[in-house]
Amino acid sequence: MDELDWLEAQSIYILREAYSRIGEPVLLWSLGKDSNVMIWLAKKAFLGNIPFPVMHLDTGLEFPEVYAFRDRYATDWNLNLISDPCPPIEETDPTLPPASRLSARKTLGLKQALARYGFSGVIAGIRRDEQATRGKERVFSPRAEDGQWDFRDQPAEFWDQFTAEYPAGVHVRIHPLLHWTEIDIWRYIARERIPVVPLYFARDGMRYRSLGEIGITFPIESQAKDIPAIIRELESTREPERAGRAMDHESEDAFERLRVAGYM
């Protein structure tokens, strides 16, 4: 087994644990590279057919290419897609910086969806290497009734003995990609030929390295027009992955506050 085989096997194990032990899971599909890999892994875990719904938290502000991608692959991959609009910005915490407020809409949208559909588990494609607070995450991470993440009191988690049972009102976030890195993701996309939104590839010397909504996501300078070029670029870059995400940089703890409140 090489590195990618090992990562794949571990993620499949986590997805199967989630399905076996969580009553009503839902898989979050942000349409970015990571969640596409996650869909792919779920298809592998469940032998071609994902047995639970896939949810897109739609702020209405995605790039047109992203919507086109969603509509095509929801059909091609035979996904049971839920896509409800997120609540308006007025409903978010006004003390948050502007870009963070936009992201907070997703947190609210998620809470509403959890209540509406009764999901008890949310499978999300975050990775430890993306952002420092994500590095502190558990694979099965409980969220209190208000969606809050209590990083001071996380369950012990070792030897893949995840904690999936919680009192009513608590939902679990499941993170099957926690142990992957950005470069692993691209190597896997290349190996498996997983489709991605074309915005990741350079056009006019610019490309998106991390994909979010219009207005809070910005492209980076790049000549990488295909996956091998992206991998080469990542092998020598000095820039962090989320440099183009405004909400991470508004204040020292902006992202931490978002995550504690329930953001992915």
Binding site: D129, P155, H179
Partner: protein, 718 residues
């Protein structure tokens, strides 16, 4: 001090080796991590700038620990709250550092981090020397089986790079490690703050000739999952793929190939691997090894569910209800004997009682003593007893399957490794082993008691024995309590008066209860005509009781009448005969009604089996992932037809004799037409061979079609 920084090369491809950094709080773990990242050129410029800004804001020099202490509270208080992971790479390979907090109350986070590492760096302050948590963490590493340990004697700058001080501390650590059976890979004098001996050799300690920290790490290999050991495939789930069932799970050790015969514990049934299923793979997979998450199908339908373990026929896990486990107790509330907990072993979950606290281990002095409680973060040997047998390996023989977690309600309260597996002669009988599994599926309080009630001749005993046969074939043990048999023994003193019948029902219910208590699935075949008696039986048996009304019209029962009872009753020879001269109270709310009037035994017992499976999870319906393809089902039925019934030899003999006659005709006709003996012989021989084959198949199919054949299975009433 100037330092060479390893040139930026991003070539190594391969599994990132997970390493954990442990040690006493404030001995410099986080700083060491920051330094490792910096000196291997693994930090982005933006990250360094961010770090400088965060440090300056707090009036500090570059504070490397902020890299890992990502949370506001951690930076403000200068402590690490939870484990985190960061990546770096050397010329040799990629690493992922799991930084575990040293603070005492966060030991569970340390354990969480350390459990997934292949190697550890134990950080010790050169000035302070070995502290309580140095020992505790080292002990913990050993407990969880981490043997690749590098000792970093840190803050050498604070002792002026003094060689004697280093030797003292190094030997102190070495002695402790030797006491727990660990030989460190290296002991290195470092200064995380200044980068001495981290990535490159230090000029400030010329007396040290050993490897730098990075060199020491590079000299060792990540540990692959044990592909060479005995096969262990703990079952995670069962999925339905059309009419096939795929057993999914991760191979913890060993390997398997298509065609291998596997044994499934606890019931011990065996079957061969028919296929390894995968989506999105170009070529068909024929074998898999430790570390892989697989989905396999078997050549025979077996009852398999989460918690079962597949192994080879030899070298299988032990089944026992008592284990001695070494436990690290993480809960604030002390552990006392008698405490009930859940033990998670692989994919199984067992209700266990702490039978006894055998010894509590003092990790400072490495002595052990008897004690009546284990405090938070304490280590102890416990005797754990489970209600039903557990499938265990000792940690020494199979580390990945010989370890588990202790759970109290919603919380993981401890980690444990199986020190000793004990054979418990009382609880480990085959009977108990097999059916107690059913009982667990039923909520843990009682095994099923399937109470078949109905008229004499309705088919109760026939169904009971047929169901038992099916269970046995699936590796499930059950016991039949038949009215006739009981009348000959247990109730031989009773007549058929209403009162005596009540007493009979009561006795059968009590006996069923005892069997169920012992973990047996009980199938009762008893007329039990009184609704009140049956209600009483339900009360005696408890939660596992299911009333099944086996119905057949009186005419059918009479026509079956295998013992001639109906005839005798009609003649007045048998008094108080249910349905003739005594009432039968039809159940008003049975759990299941089976009408055997026109149905074959096969169909009825099929329905009954399904009922038990659904009610007690014995065959827990596999989760359907794909709709069942019609063609596959038909092919399977045809294959089944070719398998059974008439002896193969007989079919062959019939086919040969019939065809030989036919081919003789062909030969004669061909000879007449061609006049060529050889040609005619060839024609006849070809025909003979092809038709024998066809006829044989034809015979086999006919042998299975019931049409026009006399029913051979008789319903035997009581």
């Amino acid at each position: 001090m100037a330092h060479d920084v390893i040139p930026l090369v991003r070539a190594p491809h391969g599994r990132a080796m997970p390493i954990v950094i442990v040690g006493h709080v404030d001995h410099g773990k986080s700083t060491l991590v920051g330094r490792l990242l910096h000196d291997t050129n693994s930090l982005s410029d933006a990250k360094v700038a961010q770090l400088r800004a965060m440090s300056a804001k707090r009036g500090l020099d570059v504070e490397w620990s902020f890299l890992l202490d990502a949370l506001q509270v951690e930076r403000d208080q200068g402590i690490t709250v939870d484990a985190t992971q960061v990546w770096f790479q050397t010329l040799r390979r990629r690493y992922v550092i799991i930084d575990a907090p040293g603070h005492r109350e966060f030991l569970r986070n340390t354990l969480t981090g350390a459990a997934s590492a292949d190697a550890a760096i134990l950080v010790v302050d050169a000035k302070i020397g070995v502290s309580e948590q140095t020992r505790r963490h080292a002990y913990l590493l050993n407990l969880i089986g981490l043997k690749q340990v590098i000792v970093a004697i840190n803050k050498m700058d604070l002792v002026g790079g003094d060689r004697d001080r280093f030797d003292d501390v190094a030997s102190e650590v070495g002695e402790y490690l030797a006491g727990i059976g660990v030989r460190p890979l290296a002991s290195i004098p470092v200064s995380a703050k200044h980068g001495d001996n981290i990535a490159t050799a230090s000029a400030s300690m010329p007396w040290y000739r050993g490897p730098s920290l990075v060199e020491a790490l590079d000299a060792h290999e990540p540990l692959p999952p044990p592909a060479q050991g005995p096969l262990r495939l703990p079952v995670q789930d069962v999925y339905r793929l059309g009419d096939r069932r795929a057993i999914v799970g991760r191979i913890e050790s060993g390997r398997l190939s298509v065609g291998d015969e596997l044994r499934f514990a606890p019931h011990g049934a065996t079957a061969r691997v028919a296929s390894i299923e995968a989506w999105g793979r170009a070529e068909r997979q024929v074998s898999a090894e430790a570390g892989e998450s697989v989905a396999i199908t078997l050549d025979e339908e077996l009852f398999v569910e989460r918690g079962h373990v597949a192994s080879n026929l030899d070298g299988r896990p032990l089944e026992t209800s008592v284990v001695i486990a070494k436990v690290i107790w993480l809960d604030r509330q002390p552990l006392v004997a008698g405490r009930r907990l859940s033990l998670r072993l692989n994919t199984a979950r067992h209700d266990v009682t702490v039978d006894a606290i055998e010894r509590v281990i003092d990790v400072d002095t490495l002595t052990d003593a008897a004690a009546d409680r284990v405090d938070q973060n304490g280590v102890a040997l416990l005797r754990l007893r489970s209600k039903r047998p557990m499938l265990v390996d000792s940690f020494a023989s199979s580390p990945r399957t010989g370890r588990g977690a202790l759970v109290d309600g919603y919380r993981v309260v401890g980690g444990c490794i199986v020190e000793q597996t004990l054979v418990d002669s009382v609880d480990n009988t085959a009977e108990r082993r097999l059916t107690s599994d059913v009982r667990g599926a039923n909520g843990g309080d009682s095994s099923p008691v399937i109470w078949l009630t109905g008229l004499s001749g309705a088919g109760k005993s026939t169904l009971a024995t047929a169901l038992q046969r099916r269970f046995t074939a699936r590796g499930l043990r059950s016991h039949v309590l038949d009215g006739d048999e009981l009348r000959r023994g247990l109730s031989s003193d009773l007549d058929f008066s209403t009162q005596a019948r009540s007493e009979n029902v009561r006795r059968v219910a009590e006996v069923s209860h005892l069997f169920a208590e012992a973990g047996m699935t009980v199938i009762v075949a008893l007329i039990s005509p009184s609704a009140a008696d049956r209600a009483h039986a339900r009360k005696i048996v408890g939660g596992g009781f299911r009333e099944v009304y086996v119905r057949a019209d009186l005419e059918t029962c009479r026509s079956r009448d295998p013992k001639g009872l109906y005839a005798r009753a009609k003649a007045g020879e048998v008094r108080q005969f249910t349905g003739i001269s005594a009432p039968y109270e039809i159940p008003t709310a049975p759990d299941l009604v089976l009408d055997t009037t026109g149905a074959s035994v096969e169909r009825s017992v099929g329905a009954l089996e399904q009922f038990v499976d659904t009610n007690f999870g014995t065959g827990r319906a596999a989760k359907a992932l794909n709709p069942e393809p019609e063609a596959g089902r038909l092919a399977k039925r045809a294959a089944a037809m070719l398998r059974s019934s008439e002896s193969h030899a007989r079919s062959i003999a019939k086919a040969v004799s019939w065809r030989a006659t036919g081919s003789l005709d062909t030969f004669v006709v061909a000879l007449l037409i061609t006049g060529n003996t050889r040609l005619a012989g060839g024609v006849a021989a070809t025909e003979l061979l092809t038709k024998i084959g066809l006829y044989y198949l034809h015979e086999r199919v006919w042998a299975l079609l019931p049409w026009g054949r006399r029913r051979t299975v008789e319903l035997q009433g009581r």
